[in-house]
């Protein structure tokens, strides 16, 4: 019997459709179907100039919009090979790590609500507001920031930005310990998560899964470490991995990553040099191609831009981590119960905006 976890379904955070073939309660076959939110962003980018595309890339993945506009700016800087002033790099890295924590907290909220724990949803939402306020102090808007520019950032950091972010990091580290007591301590949460949706190491690599689900399967590969961009080589943190590869491992990896991000924010904010925070970029893009690669909270985000000497890019190709991870959903679902679909799909932190582009 085919069940249609259709576009309008509380489990699917966003618009996609998972058709499951069920015999009794166990899943026999699964077929994800995407495309309900396809806005043709790659076509729109070809009609806009280089700076007009930044707000569009913000709306790619609305859970972590800063990382996508940053990725776009990195790619265009690679295309035009512009040197970004160090202060802008530090502000960018601090903002990205705050965005990573906010995105992981948004994931934690959705995941706990899926498993039925409304307490988790509410606490994660409440604590996410702190980082949203910090990013709003930086860029002026709550969700789609339009903050990075080609060659730097839009405005300088507000005066007591350093004090606020240090205070936020201390508060967050206390809260992560509290969450771990709430989640790891609850036997029911462990029953729903351990040994569910196991993805082996070879499968994860072969299917192209990247980011927390890949590191949860034991592959130690973090773009910030292995293919460092901007100023990550100067900051010390480590990539978090977990051997098991089940839903609990993905939850564990994300909680540790939040701790790592707090560490990064502290270093980036304290080492932030004074000076210029923006370099003016030329309006006319050169011939040639640009490539950007960034560790998005959901996986490996990539962009490939072909310039043809006019104000507008000739072709913009966006690689979305969730688009590939969803294609691997079938291998995680087979053999588990219908009630596990929620835990497995929730563990992937779906963001449909970037999947459908």
């Amino acid at each position: 019997m085919w069940i249609n976890m259709g576009p309008q379904h509380p489990m699917t955070h966003g618009l996609w459709n998972l058709r499951i073939k069920v015999d009794g309660e166990t899943i026999v076959d699964a077929e994800p179907e995407v495309g309900y939110l396809h806005r043709g962003i790659e076509k729109l980018c070809e009609r806009r100039t280089y700076t007009q595309i930044i707000p569009i890339t913000d709306r790619l993945c609305y859970g972590s919009s800063l990382t996508w506009s940053h990725l776009y700016c990195l790619t265009v800087e690679d295309l035009m090979n512009i040197e970004v002033p160090p202060r802008a790099e530090y502000i960018r890295v601090a903002a990205i790590e705050m965005q990573r924590i906010a995105s992981h907290l948004m994931w934690l909220a959705a995941y706990a609500a899926d498993l039925g724990m409304l307490v988790g949803f509410i606490y994660a939402m409440r604590d996410r507001e702190i980082f949203i306020d910090l990013l709003q102090a930086l860029s002026g808007s709550r969700l789609t920031y339009n903050y990075p520019r080609i060659g730097g950032v839009a405005h300088d950091a507000p005066p007591n930005f350093v004090r606020d972010s240090l205070r936020a990091c201390d508060y967050m580290e206390g809260k992560i310990a509290e969450y771990e007591k709430l989640y790891d301590g609850s036997k029911v949460f462990m029953m729903r998560n351990e040994g569910v949706g196991v993805l082996s190491k070879e499968d994860a690599m072969n299917l192209g899964v990247t980011g927390p689900p890949l590191r949860a399967s034991g592959v130690k590969y973090d773009l910030r470490k292995d293919q460092p961009y901007s100023i990550y080589p100067e900051l010390d943190f480590e990539a978090v991995t977990h051997p098991d590869g089940d839903c609990y491992a993905r939850y564990r990896v994300r909680m540790e990553e939040m701790r790592e991000s707090c560490k990064i924010i502290r270093q980036a904010v304290q080492k932030m040099p004074q000076g210029k925070w923006r370099v003016l970029a030329p309006r006319i893009g050169p011939e040639g191609t640009g490539l950007g690669r960034v560790e998005d909270p959901r996986g490996e985000g990539m962009m490939y831009i072909v310039g043809n000497g006019t104000q507008r890019p000739y072709r913009v190709k966006i690689r979305s981590p969730i688009f590939v991870t969803v294609s691997a959903a079938k291998h995680m679902l087979l053999g588990y119960k219908v009630a596990d679909v929620v835990a497995i799909m929730g563990g992937l932190d779906m963001c449909i905006g970037e999947t459908d582009r």
Partner: protein, 178 residues
């Protein structure tokens, strides 16, 4: 001619309709209950748990502790049968249009539609895209428009308060529909 119960029910229904509409009984009952029913409909709005894009995050934040929508009696239900507000919070692609129309038809009658965010009002930053319907009001009657891209949670709650005022203005009796 076998007289089945269904005919009797239809006939009785017709009689009651006639009595309420023509005689003063319907008007009288309306006078008594119209305000009370309207107060009840106004103060318990159940929007449909249906997120499309970034405004969905702001909708979720609106029901979180900081901007608490529960104070106004707003609970997100997940089945269209039990909701009375369809909150469209993102761009509607051409692939989604038939599903959204079906969702709208499944909702019981006193229903309203709130278009949240630029994408739902006019297609927003994707107005010139080949696969986005520029504006929800092309195929669903919309009552409340909430500007912003994404619309802030305060704007969403302000939109709900405006919806409550809208319900209060066009008050219609249950029995005579006047």
């Amino acid at each position: 001619m076998m007289f089945r119960s269904r005919d009797f029910v239809k006939w009785a229904d017709g009689v009651f309709e006639g009595v309420f509409r023509r005689s003063s009984l319907g008007g009288g009952l309306d006078l008594l209950t119209k305000d009370f029913f309207n107060w009840a409909t106004r103060n318990s709005i159940y929007p449909l748990h249906f997120g499309i894009m970034c405004c969905a995050l702001e909708m979720a934040v609106a029901s979180a502790p900081r901007f608490d929508a529960q104070r106004f009696g707003i609970i997100y239900r997940s089945s269209p049968r039990q909701c009375d507000v369809l909150l469209v919070n993102g761009p509607v692609s051409k692939k989604l249009k038939p599903d959204l129309k079906r969702l709208y038809d499944q909702m019981p009658s006193p229903k309203w539609v709130v278009a949240m965010g630029e994408c739902a009002i006019s297609g927003g930053p994707f107005y010139d895209s080949y696969s986005i319907v520029p504006g929800v009001d092309q195929f669903i009657p919309v009552d409340i428009y909430i500007p912003g891209c994404p619309a802030r949670p305060e704007a969403l709650i302000d939109g709900f308060i405006k919806l409550q005022k809208l319900i209060k203005e066009n008050k219609r009796g249950l029995f005579t529909g006047k």
